[in-house]
């Protein structure tokens, strides 16, 4: 990992330095070229003018006149870096500050830039050659190398800029690498600690809010979910271990006794039937626990569909009505018309049935159970099951939805104590909760869920209650 970071930071820096260098060259090269061309043109123009003026002097005053003129100029040191030479047709110097025609100079007129050796010094000279009437030749030149220092300074500047760029880039790369490495290493240490089994660690989040912080926050949320899931699994495992042990122990002792005592056939068959029923009980607990774990893991959100809750409740009421009548209970529904919600219809049906099932179990004959589906504010909807049974003592209510909790009132009734926890888990999956309240006397179980996408759609007209007016 370290190597990856190092190379990535250095590669990045190198890339930027190269890019800057290229930009610099692209900027400097045309400038240099234009500058050189301009100087050259300008130089030849001056030489040309000079040469023409001298030719003009020759025309007016002849060779002697020109010689005197040149001598005068050389004497006045006007020439300076200027080179002047007038020679006769044979090439012998007549006047000027050059001792002789330098070798390697072409014979005919024109403009040239040529290397010339003067006083044993090699130098570049720009020159204009002219042939005068009568065979005399005139050279007007200028030492180009005098500009070399300026050009050299330009190159020095460029090299300096490149050096600064490179150093700055490398230092930047090192700094980035150090900063990255520090944070990556801290992340690595945290993750290593988590992998060793301590899920409580979290990545450090600085207040800067940069990309790495956002990433750290996302990873922290991920860790939180993993921790919850792991705890959920641990809880379920504990519950299974705890609550399957009892029925399994019963089953085992039943079978062992059967094997030891070898009772008559008829009795044996009865015992086997009882053992099968025991196993069925274990399976039922097992299924409920699996279903709970599945819901807790939030895996079922993909099954959400548009559903009419009122219809689900009405169907459940109709399903339980004969059983309620048989027990001498009244079971009724306050109908407020269709109430759509985006939900898992199978799970919600199970939750509603669990709530009615619970009420049926605990309410004494002559009692009443009343259901209601009511739309709440903020896109929520509540399914309420109110009864006038024994209720749940206030002290027990917070624990009532815990797994395997069985209150005093439930003693002697069938069930494993998973009903309300299942309802609670289903409500939570739907972004809601299960509330238990006192009905003076009795219990109000209110399952609240989010309506989801259905709430966003235009709200349907709620019919007024066909049994009683809505309370909420």
């Amino acid at each position: 990992m370290t190597r990856v970071i190092r190379s990535s930071a250095v590669t990045l820096a190198t890339g930027y330095v190269l890019l800057a260098f290229t930009a610099l060259v692209l900027f400097a090269a045309p400038l240099l070229y234009a500058w050189q061309e301009t100087i050259k043109d300008f130089r030849f123009e001056i030489l040309q003018e000079d040469s023409q003026r001298l030719v003009h002097v020759f025309d007016l005053r002849g060779a002697a006149g020109l010689k005197a003129f040149i001598d005068e100029r050389v004497g006045m040191q006007i020439a300076g870096e200027r080179m002047l030479l007038l020679s006769d047709a044979a090439g012998r110097p007549l006047a000027g500050n050059l001792p002789a025609w330098p070798q390697s100079i072409p014979a005919h007129a024109g403009s040239y830039t040529l290397p010339v050796t003067l006083d044993g010094r090699h130098t570049m000279v720009a020159m204009v050659l002219a042939t005068l009437p009568g065979g005399c030749r005139l050279l007007v030149g200028r030492d180009v190398d005098r500009f070399a220092p300026i050009e050299r300074r330009f190159w020095y500047g460029l090299a300096g800029a490149v050096a600064v760029l490179t150093v700055a880039g490398l230092i930047g790369a090192l700094l980035i690498r150090r900063a990255l490495l520090a944070r990556v290493q801290s992340t690595q240490q945290t993750v290593a600690a988590i992998m060793r089994g301590d899920l409580s660690h979290r990545l450090k989040v600085r207040s800067s809010g940069d990309e790495l912080d956002t990433l750290a926050q996302t990873i922290n949320r991920l860790l939180e979910q993993i921790e919850q899931l792991v705890h959920g699994i641990a809880n379920v495992s504990n519950s299974i271990a705890h609550d399957l042990r009892t029925p399994l122990a019963e089953l085992r002792s039943r079978l062992e006794e059967l094997s030891l005592t070898r009772p008559p056939l008829q009795e044996t068959f009865a015992e086997i039937d009882a053992a099968v029923a025991d196993v069925d009980g274990v399976i039922r607990i097992f299924n409920a626990l699996l279903r709970l774990a599945e819901i807790d893991a939030g895996l079922r959100r993909s099954n959400f569909v548009e559903t009419d809750l009122a219809e689900l409740v009405a169907k459940a009421v109709e399903f339980y009505l004969p059983a309620a009548e048989l027990k001498g209970l009244s079971l009724c529904l306050r109908d407020h018309g269709p109430t759509g919600a985006r939900c898992d219809a199978v799970l919600l049906a199970q939750a509603i049935n669990n709530l009615i099932d619970n009420a049926l179990k605990f309410v004494a004959p002559g009692g009443h159970i009343e259901l209601e589906v009511a739309r709440l504010a903020q896109g929520l909807v509540a399914v309420t099951v109110a009864d006038d049974g024994p209720g749940i003592p206030e002290a027990d209510r917070p624990r009532a939805a815990q797994r395997f909790f069985r209150g005093d009132a439930s003693r002697g009734t069938p069930g494993v104590g998973l009903g309300l926890s299942l309802v609670e888990a289903i409500a939570r999956l739907h972004g809601g909760s299960l509330e238990l309240a006192d009905n003076h006397p009795g219990l109000i179980a209110r399952m609240i869920i989010e309506r989801g996408a259905a709430a966003a759609a235009a709200p349907e007209q709620q019919r007024s209650g066909s049994v009683v007016e809505p309370v909420t």
Binding site: F319, Y320, P322, A349, N353, K361, P414
Partner: protein, 233 residues
């Protein structure tokens, strides 16, 4: 009936084939996907019982998929330890006709197999059903016992219709929950029993011959035949 059992667990396979033979069916057994697929395409079966997770590369759903693509209409009951609603839906989508989760009661399996073989023979365009002197008018949604008209609520009608469509065979509580109420979970109270006894009140009260009876440890059956005297289960 001739039934193919594709199941890799030897003990489970023995339990199922033995029970089916005792119920009067003939069985073939394949213990992996390759043999299962081979038997399923080369022989004619009335029902196939298919495990989902099989050794080798071919699993149960792959076989079902292959059979359905070859237009093989044999009813298939998927028997699997994968019990989630999602898995169930996956199995039925692949072309399975029914889905039973392990562990299961043998009576449940038997009842469902009977139901599957019956389903194929059934005429969808039927407008009336009859068991003994009980008549159901499916279009008018009316029921008579002899000359006596019986008033039924919609759900009771659906319950009776399901029972009569499976007349002469055991129907379990789970089958009723799934097919009449579309509930795929077990209520803790014996609500189905109460519905049945209410229905029985309406159709069998004051009648000499009882049509709707309870089959111990299994479920219910509607039948014009009198119950066998011994070994009714």
């Amino acid at each position: 009936m001739k039934i193919l059992v594709v199941e890799d667990n030897e003990r489970m396979a023995r339990f199922v084939t033995k029970g089916l033979k005792e119920a009067g069916h003939t069985t073939d057994h394949a213990e992996n996907g390759r043999d299962g697929l081979f038997l399923a395409v080369s022989e004619r079966y009335d029902v196939i019982i298919m495990d989902r997770m099989l050794p080798g590369n071919i699993d149960g759903l792959t076989i079902i998929d292959a059979l359905r693509k070859a237009d093989n209409p044999t009813p298939i009951l998927i028997l699997s330890a994968l019990g989630d609603v999602d898995e169930r839906i996956k199995g039925l989508r692949a072309g399975g006709d029914d889905y039973l989760t392990k562990p299961f009661a043998f009576g449940e399996l038997l009842a469902r197999i009977d139901g599957l073989s019956r389903r194929r023979r059934q005429d969808a365009a039927q407008t009336a059903l009859e068991v003994g002197d009980l008549r159901i008018d499916l279009l008018g949604r009316k029921v008579w016992r002899g000359a006596r008209a019986i008033q039924l609520q919609p759900r009771e009608f659906k319950l009776l219709e399901y029972l009569v469509r499976h007349a002469g065979q055991v129907v379990t509580r789970t089958m009723l929950l799934e097919n009449v109420w579309d509930y795929h979970f077990d209520p803790e109270t014996n609500v189905v029993d109460v519905h049945i006894s209410k229905l029985r009140q309406k159709i069998d009260a004051d009648e000499e011959r009882q049509l709707l009876r309870t089959v111990r440890n299994a479920g219910y059956m509607i039948s014009a035949e009198p119950p066998p005297v011994a070994g009714a289960g």
